[in-house]
Symmetry: C2
Subunit: 291 residues, 2 copies
Protein backbone atom coordinates (compact mmCIF):
# COMPACT_ATOMS: atom_id res chain seq x y z
CA UNK A 1 0.00 0.00 0.00
CA UNK A 2 1.04 3.56 -0.67
CA UNK A 3 -0.55 6.70 0.81
CA UNK A 4 1.24 9.10 -1.52
CA UNK A 5 -1.07 11.25 -3.59
CA UNK A 6 -2.27 10.90 -7.16
CA UNK A 7 -1.22 13.94 -9.23
CA UNK A 8 -3.60 15.31 -11.85
CA UNK A 9 -3.06 18.23 -14.20
CA UNK A 10 -5.17 19.99 -16.79
CA UNK A 11 -5.11 23.33 -18.60
CA UNK A 12 -7.86 24.52 -16.26
CA UNK A 13 -11.13 23.29 -14.83
CA UNK A 14 -11.88 20.52 -17.35
CA UNK A 15 -9.81 17.93 -15.50
CA UNK A 16 -12.11 18.29 -12.52
CA UNK A 17 -14.40 15.79 -14.29
CA UNK A 18 -11.54 13.29 -13.86
CA UNK A 19 -10.89 14.37 -10.28
CA UNK A 20 -14.56 13.83 -9.49
CA UNK A 21 -14.56 10.36 -11.02
CA UNK A 22 -11.33 9.36 -9.23
CA UNK A 23 -12.85 10.46 -5.94
CA UNK A 24 -15.95 8.40 -6.66
CA UNK A 25 -14.05 5.26 -7.64
CA UNK A 26 -11.05 5.61 -5.31
CA UNK A 27 -12.36 7.53 -2.30
CA UNK A 28 -9.36 6.73 -0.09
CA UNK A 29 -6.77 8.31 -2.36
CA UNK A 30 -5.15 11.68 -1.69
CA UNK A 31 -5.08 14.00 -4.68
CA UNK A 32 -2.98 16.94 -5.84
CA UNK A 33 -4.61 18.76 -8.75
CA UNK A 34 -3.00 21.47 -10.87
CA UNK A 35 -5.24 23.63 -13.08
CA UNK A 36 -2.94 25.64 -15.33
CA UNK A 37 -5.45 28.43 -15.94
CA UNK A 38 -2.69 30.98 -16.62
CA UNK A 39 -1.97 29.19 -19.89
CA UNK A 40 -5.41 27.91 -20.88
CA UNK A 41 -6.25 26.95 -23.63
CA UNK A 42 -3.67 24.37 -24.74
CA UNK A 43 -5.61 23.42 -27.89
CA UNK A 44 -4.29 26.29 -29.99
CA UNK A 45 -0.65 26.09 -28.84
CA UNK A 46 2.13 24.34 -30.75
CA UNK A 47 3.20 20.79 -29.92
CA UNK A 48 6.57 21.99 -28.60
CA UNK A 49 4.86 24.45 -26.26
CA UNK A 50 2.42 21.81 -25.00
CA UNK A 51 5.27 19.39 -24.30
CA UNK A 52 7.29 21.99 -22.37
CA UNK A 53 4.22 23.02 -20.38
CA UNK A 54 3.37 19.40 -19.57
CA UNK A 55 6.86 18.78 -18.22
CA UNK A 56 6.63 21.88 -16.02
CA UNK A 57 3.27 20.80 -14.67
CA UNK A 58 4.58 17.31 -13.94
CA UNK A 59 7.63 18.75 -12.19
CA UNK A 60 5.33 20.76 -9.97
CA UNK A 61 3.30 17.66 -9.08
CA UNK A 62 6.52 15.71 -8.46
CA UNK A 63 7.35 18.06 -5.60
CA UNK A 64 4.52 16.36 -3.72
CA UNK A 65 6.08 12.96 -4.40
CA UNK A 66 2.96 11.80 -6.22
CA UNK A 67 2.88 8.09 -7.03
CA UNK A 68 1.19 8.53 -10.42
CA UNK A 69 0.38 11.42 -12.77
CA UNK A 70 -2.86 11.77 -14.69
CA UNK A 71 -2.77 14.02 -17.74
CA UNK A 72 -6.43 15.00 -17.52
CA UNK A 73 -6.34 17.04 -20.70
CA UNK A 74 -6.89 15.46 -24.09
CA UNK A 75 -4.63 17.92 -25.91
CA UNK A 76 -1.68 17.30 -23.58
CA UNK A 77 -2.39 13.55 -23.60
CA UNK A 78 -2.43 13.52 -27.40
CA UNK A 79 0.78 15.48 -27.81
CA UNK A 80 2.95 15.01 -24.72
CA UNK A 81 2.24 11.62 -23.15
CA UNK A 82 5.22 9.71 -24.56
CA UNK A 83 7.50 12.64 -23.81
CA UNK A 84 6.37 12.64 -20.16
CA UNK A 85 6.73 8.86 -19.89
CA UNK A 86 10.37 9.17 -20.98
CA UNK A 87 11.08 11.88 -18.39
CA UNK A 88 9.28 10.73 -15.25
CA UNK A 89 9.74 7.40 -13.54
CA UNK A 90 6.23 6.93 -12.25
CA UNK A 91 3.14 5.78 -14.17
CA UNK A 92 1.74 8.52 -16.46
CA UNK A 93 -1.87 8.03 -17.48
CA UNK A 94 -3.60 10.04 -20.22
CA UNK A 95 -7.26 10.30 -21.17
CA UNK A 96 -7.04 9.39 -24.85
CA UNK A 97 -6.39 5.67 -24.51
CA UNK A 98 -9.24 5.36 -22.03
CA UNK A 99 -11.63 7.08 -24.43
CA UNK A 100 -10.52 4.95 -27.36
CA UNK A 101 -10.96 1.70 -25.40
CA UNK A 102 -14.40 2.66 -24.14
CA UNK A 103 -15.52 3.55 -27.66
CA UNK A 104 -14.26 0.22 -28.99
CA UNK A 105 -16.38 -1.54 -26.39
CA UNK A 106 -19.45 0.56 -27.16
CA UNK A 107 -19.64 0.58 -30.96
CA UNK A 108 -21.90 -1.88 -32.72
CA UNK A 109 -21.59 -0.70 -36.33
CA UNK A 110 -17.81 -0.10 -36.13
CA UNK A 111 -18.14 3.62 -36.91
CA UNK A 112 -16.61 5.82 -34.21
CA UNK A 113 -16.51 9.62 -34.17
CA UNK A 114 -14.07 11.85 -32.26
CA UNK A 115 -14.36 15.55 -31.41
CA UNK A 116 -11.68 17.62 -29.68
CA UNK A 117 -9.39 20.63 -30.01
CA UNK A 118 -7.44 21.22 -33.20
CA UNK A 119 -4.23 19.83 -31.70
CA UNK A 120 -5.98 16.70 -30.40
CA UNK A 121 -7.63 15.99 -33.75
CA UNK A 122 -4.54 16.82 -35.83
CA UNK A 123 -2.43 14.47 -33.71
CA UNK A 124 -4.61 11.53 -34.88
CA UNK A 125 -3.85 9.83 -31.58
CA UNK A 126 -7.40 8.47 -31.14
CA UNK A 127 -7.43 7.26 -34.73
CA UNK A 128 -4.08 5.46 -34.42
CA UNK A 129 -4.95 3.82 -31.11
CA UNK A 130 -8.31 2.56 -32.37
CA UNK A 131 -6.90 1.31 -35.68
CA UNK A 132 -4.06 -0.47 -33.86
CA UNK A 133 -6.59 -2.47 -31.85
CA UNK A 134 -9.15 -3.03 -34.61
CA UNK A 135 -8.16 -1.97 -38.15
CA UNK A 136 -11.71 -2.53 -39.39
CA UNK A 137 -13.15 0.33 -37.39
CA UNK A 138 -13.94 3.48 -39.37
CA UNK A 139 -12.92 6.59 -37.46
CA UNK A 140 -14.38 10.03 -38.23
CA UNK A 141 -12.73 13.02 -36.55
CA UNK A 142 -13.52 16.74 -36.40
CA UNK A 143 -12.11 19.63 -34.39
CA UNK A 144 -14.74 21.65 -32.53
CA UNK A 145 -12.73 24.66 -31.37
CA UNK A 146 -15.49 26.79 -29.80
CA UNK A 147 -17.05 24.08 -27.62
CA UNK A 148 -14.66 24.42 -24.68
CA UNK A 149 -15.04 28.18 -24.48
CA UNK A 150 -18.83 27.84 -24.66
CA UNK A 151 -18.68 25.65 -21.56
CA UNK A 152 -16.32 28.02 -19.76
CA UNK A 153 -18.58 30.98 -20.57
CA UNK A 154 -21.71 29.14 -19.45
CA UNK A 155 -23.31 29.53 -22.88
CA UNK A 156 -24.38 25.91 -23.29
CA UNK A 157 -28.08 26.81 -23.45
CA UNK A 158 -27.79 29.53 -26.10
CA UNK A 159 -29.75 29.02 -29.31
CA UNK A 160 -26.52 29.79 -31.21
CA UNK A 161 -24.83 26.90 -29.38
CA UNK A 162 -27.59 24.56 -30.51
CA UNK A 163 -27.04 25.70 -34.07
CA UNK A 164 -23.25 25.41 -33.81
CA UNK A 165 -23.64 21.83 -32.56
CA UNK A 166 -25.79 21.07 -35.61
CA UNK A 167 -23.26 22.66 -37.97
CA UNK A 168 -20.33 20.89 -36.32
CA UNK A 169 -21.79 17.43 -35.77
CA UNK A 170 -23.91 16.82 -38.88
CA UNK A 171 -20.77 15.21 -40.35
CA UNK A 172 -21.13 12.38 -37.82
CA UNK A 173 -24.83 11.98 -38.56
CA UNK A 174 -24.11 11.75 -42.29
CA UNK A 175 -21.51 9.09 -41.65
CA UNK A 176 -23.80 7.18 -39.29
CA UNK A 177 -21.37 6.88 -36.38
CA UNK A 178 -22.99 5.12 -33.43
CA UNK A 179 -20.36 6.17 -30.86
CA UNK A 180 -18.79 9.60 -30.31
CA UNK A 181 -15.75 10.21 -28.12
CA UNK A 182 -15.96 13.52 -26.24
CA UNK A 183 -12.24 14.19 -26.69
CA UNK A 184 -11.99 17.21 -24.40
CA UNK A 185 -12.77 17.25 -20.69
CA UNK A 186 -15.11 20.23 -21.16
CA UNK A 187 -17.46 18.45 -23.51
CA UNK A 188 -19.37 16.30 -21.01
CA UNK A 189 -21.05 19.57 -19.98
CA UNK A 190 -22.53 19.75 -23.49
CA UNK A 191 -23.76 16.15 -23.36
CA UNK A 192 -27.43 17.06 -23.19
CA UNK A 193 -27.25 19.40 -26.18
CA UNK A 194 -25.16 16.96 -28.24
CA UNK A 195 -27.54 14.11 -27.40
CA UNK A 196 -30.48 16.23 -28.49
CA UNK A 197 -29.01 16.59 -31.95
CA UNK A 198 -27.34 13.19 -32.43
CA UNK A 199 -30.09 11.10 -30.84
CA UNK A 200 -29.20 7.43 -30.46
CA UNK A 201 -25.42 7.78 -30.39
CA UNK A 202 -23.35 6.62 -27.41
CA UNK A 203 -21.34 9.51 -26.00
CA UNK A 204 -18.03 8.48 -24.44
CA UNK A 205 -16.79 10.51 -21.48
CA UNK A 206 -13.17 9.29 -20.97
CA UNK A 207 -13.00 10.30 -17.30
CA UNK A 208 -14.76 7.12 -16.14
CA UNK A 209 -12.52 4.80 -18.12
CA UNK A 210 -9.47 6.81 -17.01
CA UNK A 211 -10.32 6.23 -13.37
CA UNK A 212 -10.71 2.50 -14.01
CA UNK A 213 -7.26 2.54 -15.59
CA UNK A 214 -5.81 4.34 -12.55
CA UNK A 215 -7.38 1.71 -10.30
CA UNK A 216 -5.88 -1.08 -12.40
CA UNK A 217 -2.40 0.45 -12.38
CA UNK A 218 -2.43 1.07 -8.64
CA UNK A 219 -3.70 -2.44 -7.94
CA UNK A 220 -1.11 -4.04 -10.18
CA UNK A 221 1.70 -2.20 -8.43
CA UNK A 222 0.15 -2.77 -5.03
CA UNK A 223 0.06 0.97 -4.67
CA UNK A 224 -3.46 1.73 -3.49
CA UNK A 225 -4.01 3.78 -0.37
CA UNK A 226 -5.49 1.43 2.21
CA UNK A 227 -5.71 4.16 4.81
CA UNK A 228 -8.31 6.95 4.42
CA UNK A 229 -8.30 10.15 2.38
CA UNK A 230 -6.31 12.77 4.27
CA UNK A 231 -6.12 15.68 1.85
CA UNK A 232 -6.98 16.95 -1.59
CA UNK A 233 -5.00 19.94 -2.80
CA UNK A 234 -6.06 22.05 -5.75
CA UNK A 235 -3.62 24.54 -7.24
CA UNK A 236 -4.10 27.06 -10.05
CA UNK A 237 -1.56 29.22 -11.91
CA UNK A 238 -3.70 32.34 -12.25
CA UNK A 239 -6.26 33.89 -9.88
CA UNK A 240 -8.80 31.27 -8.78
CA UNK A 241 -11.83 33.53 -9.19
CA UNK A 242 -13.16 32.37 -12.52
CA UNK A 243 -11.76 28.86 -11.91
CA UNK A 244 -13.98 28.59 -8.84
CA UNK A 245 -16.96 30.02 -10.67
CA UNK A 246 -16.65 27.56 -13.54
CA UNK A 247 -15.70 24.63 -11.32
CA UNK A 248 -19.14 24.72 -9.72
CA UNK A 249 -20.60 23.54 -12.98
CA UNK A 250 -18.06 20.69 -13.17
CA UNK A 251 -18.13 19.51 -9.58
CA UNK A 252 -21.57 20.49 -8.29
CA UNK A 253 -19.67 21.59 -5.23
CA UNK A 254 -19.29 24.95 -3.56
CA UNK A 255 -16.56 23.92 -1.21
CA UNK A 256 -13.39 23.73 -3.31
CA UNK A 257 -10.32 25.21 -1.63
CA UNK A 258 -7.92 26.48 -4.24
CA UNK A 259 -4.42 27.91 -3.91
CA UNK A 260 -2.68 30.05 -6.52
CA UNK A 261 0.96 29.23 -7.31
CA UNK A 262 3.52 30.48 -9.81
CA UNK A 263 5.24 28.05 -12.14
CA UNK A 264 7.43 30.95 -13.21
CA UNK A 265 8.93 30.99 -9.74
CA UNK A 266 9.62 27.26 -10.06
CA UNK A 267 11.24 27.81 -13.47
CA UNK A 268 13.23 30.75 -12.17
CA UNK A 269 14.54 28.76 -9.23
CA UNK A 270 15.67 25.88 -11.38
CA UNK A 271 17.24 28.15 -14.05
CA UNK A 272 19.01 30.21 -11.45
CA UNK A 273 20.28 27.19 -9.55
CA UNK A 274 21.73 25.46 -12.57
CA UNK A 275 23.37 28.66 -13.84
CA UNK A 276 24.57 29.56 -10.36
CA UNK A 277 26.34 26.25 -9.91
CA UNK A 278 28.08 26.59 -13.26
CA UNK A 279 29.10 30.14 -12.43
CA UNK A 280 30.31 29.34 -8.94
CA UNK A 281 32.67 26.63 -10.10
CA UNK A 282 33.94 28.92 -12.87
CA UNK A 283 34.65 31.76 -10.43
CA UNK A 284 36.22 29.46 -7.88
CA UNK A 285 38.67 28.31 -10.50
CA UNK A 286 39.43 31.85 -11.67
CA UNK A 287 40.00 33.22 -8.20
CA UNK A 288 42.06 30.23 -7.18
CA UNK A 289 44.25 30.84 -10.20
CA UNK A 290 44.57 34.52 -9.25
CA UNK A 291 45.56 33.55 -5.73
Amino acid sequence: MNSKAIGIFDSGVGGLTVLKEVKRQLPRENIVYLGDNARVPYGSKSKEKIKAISVENSEFLSKFEVKLIVVACNTASAVALDHLKSKFHIPIIGVIEAGAKAALKATRNKKIGVIGTKQTINSQTHMNLIKAIDPEIEVFTKATPLFAQIVEEDMTDFESTKMLIEESLSYFKENKVDTLILGCTHYPLLKKQIKEFLGDVTLIDPSKETSLEIRRVLARKNNKNLSHNEYDKIFVTDTPLSFLEISRRFMNSDTLVVEQISLEEQRKESDVNSEKNKEISKIRKLIEQEV
Copy 2:
Protein backbone atom coordinates in the same frame (compact mmCIF):
# COMPACT_ATOMS: atom_id res chain seq x y z
CA MET B 1 13.63 63.36 -37.05
CA ASN B 2 14.11 59.87 -35.69
CA SER B 3 14.48 56.67 -37.72
CA LYS B 4 14.09 54.34 -34.75
CA ALA B 5 11.22 51.90 -35.06
CA ILE B 6 7.70 52.00 -33.67
CA GLY B 7 7.08 49.00 -31.40
CA ILE B 8 3.68 47.29 -31.45
CA PHE B 9 2.51 44.35 -29.39
CA ASP B 10 -0.66 42.29 -29.24
CA SER B 11 -1.70 38.91 -27.88
CA GLY B 12 -1.57 37.57 -31.42
CA VAL B 13 -2.70 38.56 -34.89
CA GLY B 14 -5.36 41.14 -33.94
CA GLY B 15 -2.86 43.98 -33.69
CA LEU B 16 -2.03 43.53 -37.36
CA THR B 17 -5.08 45.74 -38.05
CA VAL B 18 -3.14 48.49 -36.26
CA LEU B 19 0.10 47.64 -38.06
CA LYS B 20 -1.71 47.87 -41.38
CA GLU B 21 -3.19 51.26 -40.54
CA VAL B 22 0.16 52.61 -39.27
CA LYS B 23 1.79 51.53 -42.52
CA ARG B 24 -0.94 53.28 -44.50
CA GLN B 25 -0.76 56.52 -42.55
CA LEU B 26 2.99 56.53 -41.77
CA PRO B 27 4.60 54.64 -44.65
CA ARG B 28 8.15 55.79 -43.84
CA GLU B 29 8.22 54.36 -40.31
CA ASN B 30 10.07 51.18 -39.38
CA ILE B 31 8.05 48.76 -37.29
CA VAL B 32 8.80 45.99 -34.81
CA TYR B 33 5.70 43.90 -34.08
CA LEU B 34 5.36 41.27 -31.37
CA GLY B 35 2.44 38.83 -31.55
CA ASP B 36 2.39 36.94 -28.25
CA ASN B 37 0.56 33.92 -29.64
CA ALA B 38 2.05 31.59 -27.00
CA ARG B 39 -0.12 33.31 -24.40
CA VAL B 40 -3.20 34.21 -26.42
CA PRO B 41 -5.92 34.99 -25.33
CA TYR B 42 -5.34 37.74 -22.75
CA GLY B 43 -9.07 38.39 -22.23
CA SER B 44 -9.56 35.58 -19.73
CA LYS B 45 -6.35 36.14 -17.74
CA SER B 46 -6.16 38.06 -14.46
CA LYS B 47 -5.19 41.72 -14.33
CA GLU B 48 -1.90 40.89 -12.58
CA LYS B 49 -0.99 38.39 -15.28
CA ILE B 50 -1.84 40.84 -18.06
CA LYS B 51 0.30 43.55 -16.45
CA ALA B 52 3.29 41.22 -16.07
CA ILE B 53 2.93 39.99 -19.64
CA SER B 54 2.66 43.55 -20.98
CA VAL B 55 5.88 44.53 -19.21
CA GLU B 56 7.69 41.53 -20.69
CA ASN B 57 6.45 42.34 -24.18
CA SER B 58 7.53 45.97 -23.81
CA GLU B 59 10.95 44.90 -22.55
CA PHE B 60 11.35 42.78 -25.65
CA LEU B 61 10.44 45.71 -27.92
CA SER B 62 12.80 47.97 -25.95
CA LYS B 63 15.72 45.83 -27.07
CA PHE B 64 15.18 47.34 -30.52
CA GLU B 65 15.36 50.83 -29.03
CA VAL B 66 11.86 51.63 -30.28
CA LYS B 67 10.86 55.27 -29.97
CA LEU B 68 7.24 54.55 -29.05
CA ILE B 69 5.20 51.50 -27.99
CA VAL B 70 1.69 50.77 -29.21
CA VAL B 71 -0.38 48.42 -27.06
CA ALA B 72 -2.46 47.11 -29.95
CA CYS B 73 -4.65 44.97 -27.72
CA ASN B 74 -7.72 46.34 -26.00
CA THR B 75 -7.43 44.03 -23.00
CA ALA B 76 -3.81 45.01 -22.30
CA SER B 77 -4.63 48.68 -22.98
CA ALA B 78 -7.54 48.54 -20.55
CA VAL B 79 -5.61 46.86 -17.77
CA ALA B 80 -1.90 47.66 -18.13
CA LEU B 81 -1.47 51.03 -19.86
CA ASP B 82 -0.80 53.16 -16.75
CA HIS B 83 1.50 50.47 -15.38
CA LEU B 84 3.55 50.52 -18.60
CA LYS B 85 3.65 54.33 -18.66
CA SER B 86 5.17 54.32 -15.18
CA LYS B 87 7.84 51.79 -16.20
CA PHE B 88 8.98 52.89 -19.66
CA HIS B 89 10.27 56.33 -20.54
CA ILE B 90 8.96 56.53 -24.09
CA PRO B 91 5.41 57.30 -25.24
CA ILE B 92 3.02 54.36 -24.70
CA ILE B 93 -0.14 54.47 -26.80
CA GLY B 94 -3.14 52.20 -26.25
CA VAL B 95 -6.19 51.56 -28.40
CA ILE B 96 -8.93 52.34 -25.89
CA GLU B 97 -8.60 56.12 -25.77
CA ALA B 98 -8.56 56.27 -29.56
CA GLY B 99 -11.77 54.23 -29.75
CA ALA B 100 -13.48 56.34 -27.11
CA LYS B 101 -12.58 59.61 -28.83
CA ALA B 102 -13.72 58.39 -32.23
CA ALA B 103 -17.04 57.26 -30.75
CA LEU B 104 -17.56 60.64 -29.08
CA LYS B 105 -17.10 62.31 -32.45
CA ALA B 106 -19.47 59.91 -34.19
CA THR B 107 -22.48 59.71 -31.87
CA ARG B 108 -25.50 61.89 -32.55
CA ASN B 109 -27.93 60.60 -29.92
CA LYS B 110 -25.30 60.34 -27.16
CA LYS B 111 -25.75 56.57 -26.75
CA ILE B 112 -22.53 54.65 -27.23
CA GLY B 113 -22.08 50.87 -27.03
CA VAL B 114 -18.87 48.95 -26.31
CA ILE B 115 -18.07 45.28 -26.93
CA GLY B 116 -14.85 43.53 -25.93
CA THR B 117 -13.35 40.75 -23.84
CA LYS B 118 -14.48 40.21 -20.25
CA GLN B 119 -11.39 41.95 -18.84
CA THR B 120 -11.82 44.93 -21.16
CA ILE B 121 -15.49 45.35 -20.28
CA ASN B 122 -14.99 44.74 -16.54
CA SER B 123 -12.23 47.34 -16.41
CA GLN B 124 -14.79 50.02 -17.44
CA THR B 125 -11.95 51.92 -19.09
CA HIS B 126 -14.02 52.98 -22.12
CA MET B 127 -16.89 54.03 -19.86
CA ASN B 128 -14.65 56.13 -17.59
CA LEU B 129 -12.84 57.82 -20.48
CA ILE B 130 -16.06 58.71 -22.27
CA LYS B 131 -17.79 59.96 -19.11
CA ALA B 132 -14.75 62.06 -18.21
CA ILE B 133 -15.03 63.91 -21.52
CA ASP B 134 -18.82 64.11 -21.70
CA PRO B 135 -20.78 63.00 -18.61
CA GLU B 136 -24.06 63.20 -20.53
CA ILE B 137 -23.22 60.29 -22.80
CA GLU B 138 -24.94 57.01 -21.98
CA VAL B 139 -22.55 54.08 -22.29
CA PHE B 140 -23.76 50.49 -22.76
CA THR B 141 -21.16 47.73 -22.46
CA LYS B 142 -21.20 43.97 -23.00
CA ALA B 143 -18.53 41.30 -23.10
CA THR B 144 -18.64 39.12 -26.22
CA PRO B 145 -16.19 36.36 -25.31
CA LEU B 146 -16.57 34.06 -28.34
CA PHE B 147 -16.17 36.70 -31.05
CA ALA B 148 -12.35 36.71 -31.13
CA GLN B 149 -12.11 32.94 -31.40
CA ILE B 150 -14.72 32.91 -34.16
CA VAL B 151 -12.48 35.24 -36.16
CA GLU B 152 -9.37 33.17 -35.43
CA GLU B 153 -11.18 29.98 -36.50
CA ASP B 154 -12.50 31.58 -39.69
CA MET B 155 -16.09 30.92 -38.65
CA THR B 156 -17.43 34.41 -39.36
CA ASP B 157 -19.85 33.17 -42.03
CA PHE B 158 -21.42 30.37 -39.97
CA GLU B 159 -25.17 30.57 -39.39
CA SER B 160 -24.49 30.02 -35.69
CA THR B 161 -22.25 33.11 -35.70
CA LYS B 162 -25.10 35.17 -37.17
CA MET B 163 -27.35 33.93 -34.38
CA LEU B 164 -24.74 34.56 -31.68
CA ILE B 165 -24.36 38.13 -32.95
CA GLU B 166 -28.13 38.59 -32.63
CA GLU B 167 -28.16 37.13 -29.12
CA SER B 168 -25.18 39.22 -28.03
CA LEU B 169 -26.01 42.55 -29.64
CA SER B 170 -29.79 42.84 -29.27
CA TYR B 171 -29.02 44.66 -26.01
CA PHE B 172 -27.59 47.54 -28.04
CA LYS B 173 -30.58 47.60 -30.39
CA GLU B 174 -32.97 47.73 -27.43
CA ASN B 175 -31.03 50.64 -25.98
CA LYS B 176 -30.88 52.43 -29.32
CA VAL B 177 -27.13 53.07 -29.39
CA ASP B 178 -26.11 54.79 -32.62
CA THR B 179 -22.36 54.09 -32.24
CA LEU B 180 -20.63 50.84 -31.26
CA ILE B 181 -16.94 50.60 -30.34
CA LEU B 182 -15.35 47.36 -31.58
CA GLY B 183 -13.25 47.03 -28.43
CA CYS B 184 -11.07 44.12 -29.61
CA THR B 185 -8.76 44.16 -32.60
CA HIS B 186 -10.35 40.97 -33.95
CA TYR B 187 -13.81 42.44 -34.27
CA PRO B 188 -13.33 44.50 -37.46
CA LEU B 189 -13.34 41.14 -39.26
CA LEU B 190 -16.94 40.69 -38.07
CA LYS B 191 -17.97 44.17 -39.25
CA LYS B 192 -20.14 42.94 -42.13
CA GLN B 193 -22.06 40.49 -39.93
CA ILE B 194 -22.50 43.02 -37.11
CA LYS B 195 -23.65 45.69 -39.58
CA GLU B 196 -26.19 43.26 -41.02
CA PHE B 197 -27.83 42.90 -37.64
CA LEU B 198 -27.43 46.41 -36.20
CA GLY B 199 -28.17 48.30 -39.42
CA ASP B 200 -27.65 52.04 -39.16
CA VAL B 201 -25.12 52.04 -36.32
CA THR B 202 -21.63 53.51 -36.72
CA LEU B 203 -18.99 50.87 -35.98
CA ILE B 204 -15.79 52.26 -34.53
CA ASP B 205 -12.54 50.48 -35.43
CA PRO B 206 -9.94 52.04 -33.07
CA SER B 207 -6.95 51.20 -35.28
CA LYS B 208 -7.49 54.27 -37.50
CA GLU B 209 -7.76 56.70 -34.61
CA THR B 210 -4.78 55.01 -32.92
CA SER B 211 -2.61 55.66 -35.97
CA LEU B 212 -3.69 59.31 -36.00
CA GLU B 213 -2.65 59.52 -32.36
CA ILE B 214 0.74 57.99 -33.15
CA ARG B 215 1.21 60.55 -35.91
CA ARG B 216 0.31 63.39 -33.53
CA VAL B 217 2.70 62.17 -30.82
CA LEU B 218 5.59 61.71 -33.27
CA ALA B 219 4.99 65.12 -34.83
CA ARG B 220 4.80 66.85 -31.47
CA LYS B 221 8.11 65.34 -30.39
CA ASN B 222 9.64 65.92 -33.81
CA ASN B 223 10.19 62.18 -33.95
CA LYS B 224 8.89 61.16 -37.36
CA ASN B 225 11.10 59.21 -39.70
CA LEU B 226 11.88 61.52 -42.62
CA SER B 227 13.97 58.89 -44.36
CA HIS B 228 12.26 55.86 -45.94
CA ASN B 229 11.02 52.59 -44.47
CA GLU B 230 13.96 50.24 -44.08
CA TYR B 231 12.51 47.28 -42.25
CA ASP B 232 9.44 45.76 -40.60
CA LYS B 233 10.07 42.93 -38.19
CA ILE B 234 7.34 40.60 -36.99
CA PHE B 235 7.99 38.29 -34.05
CA VAL B 236 5.79 35.64 -32.49
CA THR B 237 6.20 33.65 -29.27
CA ASP B 238 4.86 30.32 -30.55
CA THR B 239 5.14 28.65 -33.97
CA PRO B 240 4.13 31.08 -36.73
CA LEU B 241 2.05 28.54 -38.64
CA SER B 242 -1.44 29.44 -37.55
CA PHE B 243 -0.39 33.07 -37.03
CA LEU B 244 0.48 33.27 -40.72
CA GLU B 245 -2.69 31.50 -41.74
CA ILE B 246 -4.90 33.85 -39.74
CA SER B 247 -2.86 36.94 -40.59
CA ARG B 248 -3.84 36.62 -44.24
CA ARG B 249 -7.38 37.54 -43.26
CA PHE B 250 -6.15 40.57 -41.32
CA MET B 251 -3.57 41.90 -43.75
CA ASN B 252 -4.71 40.65 -47.16
CA SER B 253 -1.07 39.85 -47.69
CA ASP B 254 0.74 36.61 -48.33
CA THR B 255 4.20 38.00 -47.81
CA LEU B 256 4.64 38.38 -44.06
CA VAL B 257 8.01 37.25 -42.77
CA VAL B 258 7.69 36.11 -39.19
CA GLU B 259 10.32 35.02 -36.68
CA GLN B 260 9.65 32.94 -33.57
CA ILE B 261 11.31 34.06 -30.33
CA SER B 262 11.17 32.94 -26.72
CA LEU B 263 10.29 35.42 -24.01
CA GLU B 264 11.15 32.70 -21.52
CA GLU B 265 14.75 32.93 -22.66
CA GLN B 266 14.62 36.68 -22.08
CA ARG B 267 13.16 36.14 -18.61
CA LYS B 268 15.71 33.46 -17.83
CA GLU B 269 18.59 35.70 -18.88
CA SER B 270 17.43 38.56 -16.74
CA ASP B 271 16.68 36.33 -13.73
CA VAL B 272 19.98 34.57 -14.04
CA ASN B 273 21.94 37.78 -14.49
CA SER B 274 20.51 39.48 -11.46
CA GLU B 275 20.97 36.39 -9.29
CA LYS B 276 24.42 35.76 -10.71
CA ASN B 277 25.62 39.26 -9.85
CA LYS B 278 24.39 38.91 -6.29
CA GLU B 279 26.02 35.53 -5.99
CA ILE B 280 29.31 36.57 -7.54
CA SER B 281 29.81 39.44 -5.12
CA LYS B 282 28.88 37.15 -2.22
CA ILE B 283 31.41 34.50 -3.27
CA ARG B 284 34.12 37.06 -3.98
CA LYS B 285 33.75 38.31 -0.43
CA LEU B 286 33.78 34.81 1.02
CA ILE B 287 36.83 33.69 -0.91
CA GLU B 288 38.68 36.91 -0.18
CA GLN B 289 38.02 36.36 3.48
CA GLU B 290 39.27 32.79 3.18
CA VAL B 291 42.42 34.02 1.44
